[in-house]
Symmetry: C2
Subunit: 287 residues, 2 copies
C-alpha cells in the first residue's frame, strides 16, 4: 500500500481539526485512517518478539526486512468493531454498562495500527505518529466531555507580564465544574517531568485543584531491534517523588499500562495509573 | 583533518573523567581537543550569516558545501590565550582582578570550536557536542569550586521508597556552605522547564535554599540554513512564570547570552541571567 493512502485521512484531519476537534467528522476521518492502516497491516507478516515484560506478549508487523514497534497481543484486536461501538457511544453520550477493557483495546488498536504503519512506510518518522495520537486522544476526550480544548491560557496580568501560557490540551467544563489538563504522549521516558511541571504552573497561576491533570500515554515499551526483545522503561520511584514534590496528577491513563506503574495504585501516597478506557466510564465523576 | 584527531582527546576524557572531572589532566585534554579543532577550523572559509539578533553578528565555518552552527563574532577569539589563562587561574585558585568578559570569550571559543568542528565532520550528531560541553563546563565548575560533582543523590527513605534521585551535576561544598545544582545544555528551547522542575524536587527533598540552581547554557541561536539567517529562540515570559511558580534558580549562566533574557535582570521579580565568565569571579560569594 502506498504511504499516501494512510496519510490522506491524516492530512484531512490536520486541515479540519482547527478549533473543532470534537466534531464527529474528525471521528469519521480517524476511522478511515485506521481502516486503511489495518488493510495494510493485515497483509503483513507478524513477527513474534521476546517479551521481557512479565505477563505481556508482543509481536511486530514486518515488511521488507523492517519491523514495526511492538504490538501488545492482548490489546490488539485487529478490527474496528470496538472502535465503532466507542464512536457510537460517544455520539449518544451513553456509557452505561460500558466495558472499559474493550474501550482500551479499541483505542489501542486504532493508535498502534497507525503508528506501526508509519514505522514501516516511513523512515525514522516519530512526529507523524505523535501528532496522530494527539488528534486521536484529543478527539475522544473532547467528544466524551462535549467541549473543545484550548491550547493557550491567559495568565493574570501583573505589570508588563501580559502573556498566554502555551499548554497541552485544556478542557473547561464551565463554572463550578472541573477543568482538565491533558498532555498526550506516545511514550514519556525522562521527559515526563514536564507533565508535572506544567501542572505545577497551572496550579500556581489558577489555584491548586482547579485543573485535573490527566495525561494519556500510549505505552512505555522499547524494542531492541537486534535482539527482538521488548522491555518497558519505567521510573516509578521518580514518579512518586514528582507527585510528592512537584504537583498532583489526578490520573495517569495508559493504553498499554506498564506493570511497574500499575503497582503505584497500591502504595501510599497513591498515583492513580489506569487503562484509558476507564476514563470514558468515570469521566462524569472525576473531580 | 580526519575526524579522529578531534575525537581522540574527547574519547580520552570520556575514559578518564570517571569520578574525577576536576582533575587538571582533564583540563589538558580539553586544551588538546580545542587546539585540534582550531587547527581544523583555521583552514576553513568563514561564511557571513545574516543576524536577526540586534547587536550581535554571526558567521559560520564552511567546508564542502556544509556550514557549521553560528559563531558569535564578538565572542570567538580564535586562539587559546584566554583559555590558557583561565586554566592557569584555576590551578592557582586566584580570580582577583579577573576579567569576566575575557573568561566568557575563552570558554565560548573552546565550546564553539568543538561543536562547529563536529557539525562539519559528522552528520546530524547532536550528542557528541552536548557531551563535550558537559565535560567542559563540569571540569571548569568543579575546578573553580575545588570539589567533584555527584550525579545521584540519596532520597529520604520512607517506607519502601529507597531510591536515588538522578540529577545533573550537584556540587557539595560541605557543611554550612552552599550546594550547587548545575544542569548543562547547549541550548534549551521548550525543554528548559525540566531545569526548574528538577530544582523543585531538590527543594522539596532537601529543603528550599540549600541547593543553588545555576544552569549553564551555550546559546539559543538557531540558523536557518536556507536563508542563512540567525535568530535566537527565547521564551522570557514563560521563564518568569517558571521562576514564580515552580522554583527559584539562583543564576542562569550563558556563554552567548540572549538579548531577551538579559532583560529579565531588570524586571521584578528578577531572574539573574549572566555571562558564564561572571561565575568564576562571583563563585565564592554566591549563597
Amino acid at each position: 500500500m502506498p504511504a499516501h493512502a494512510v496519510e490522506r485521512a491524516y492530512q484531512t484531519i490536520q486541515r479540519l481539526q482547527g478549533g473543532d476537534i470534537k466534531n464527529p467528522q474528525i471521528g469519521e476521518l480517524l476511522t478511515e485512517s485506521i481502516r486503511e492502516c489495518q488493510k495494510f497491516l493485515d497483509a503483513l507478516e507478524r513477527v513474534n518478539l521476546k517479551s521481557k515484560v512479565p505477563g505481556k506478549e508482543y509481536f511486530a508487523f514486518g515488511a521488507e526486512g523492517k519491523i514495526s514497534r511492538p504490538v501488545n497481543k492482548a490489546l490488539y484486536v485487529g478490527d474496528l468493531s470496538g472502535w465503532n461501538d466507542l464512536l457510537d457511544r460517544l455520539a449518544r453520550n451513553d456509557f452505561r454498562r460500558a466495558d472499559a477493557t474493550r474501550i482500551t483495546q479499541a483505542i489501542y488498536t486504532a493508535a498502534i495500527s497507525f503508528c506501526a504503519s508509519i514505522d514501516l512506510l516511513k523512515r525514522g518518522d516519530q512526529k507523524t505518529p505523535g501528532t496522530f495520537f494527539e488528534y486521536l486522544v484529543g478527539h475522544l476526550f473532547a467528544a466524551r466531555l462535549g467541549v473543545n480544548p484550548r491550547t493557550r491560557l491567559p495568565v493574570l496580568n501583573v505589570d508588563d507580564l501580559k502573556t498566554e501560557l502555551p499548554t497541552d490540551f485544556v478542557f473547561d467544563l464551565g463554572k463550578g465544574k472541573p477543568k482538565f489538563h491533558l498532555p498526550v504522549k506516545t511514550s514519556t521516558r525522562e521527559r515526563v517531568i514536564q507533565v508535572w511541571a506544567h501542572q505545577r504552573v497551572l496550579d500556581g497561576v489558577y489555584g491548586t485543584g482547579l485543573f485535573l491533570g490527566t495525561p494519556v500515554i500510549l505505552t512505555e515499551t522499547k524494542n531492541d531491534v537486534v535482539k527482538r526483545e521488548v522491555i518497558e522503561i519505567c521510573l516509578p520511584d521518580q514518579w512518586r517523588l514528582y507527585q510528592m514534590h512537584i504537583a498532583q496528577l489526578k490520573r495517569i491513563y495508559y493504553l498499554d499500562v506498564p506493570a511497574a506503574y500499575i503497582a503505584l495504585n497500591q502504595v501510599f501516597p497513591r498515583l492513580h495509573v489506569r487503562p484509558f478506557g476507564e476514563f470514558f466510564v468515570e469521566a462524569d465523576t472525576l473531580s
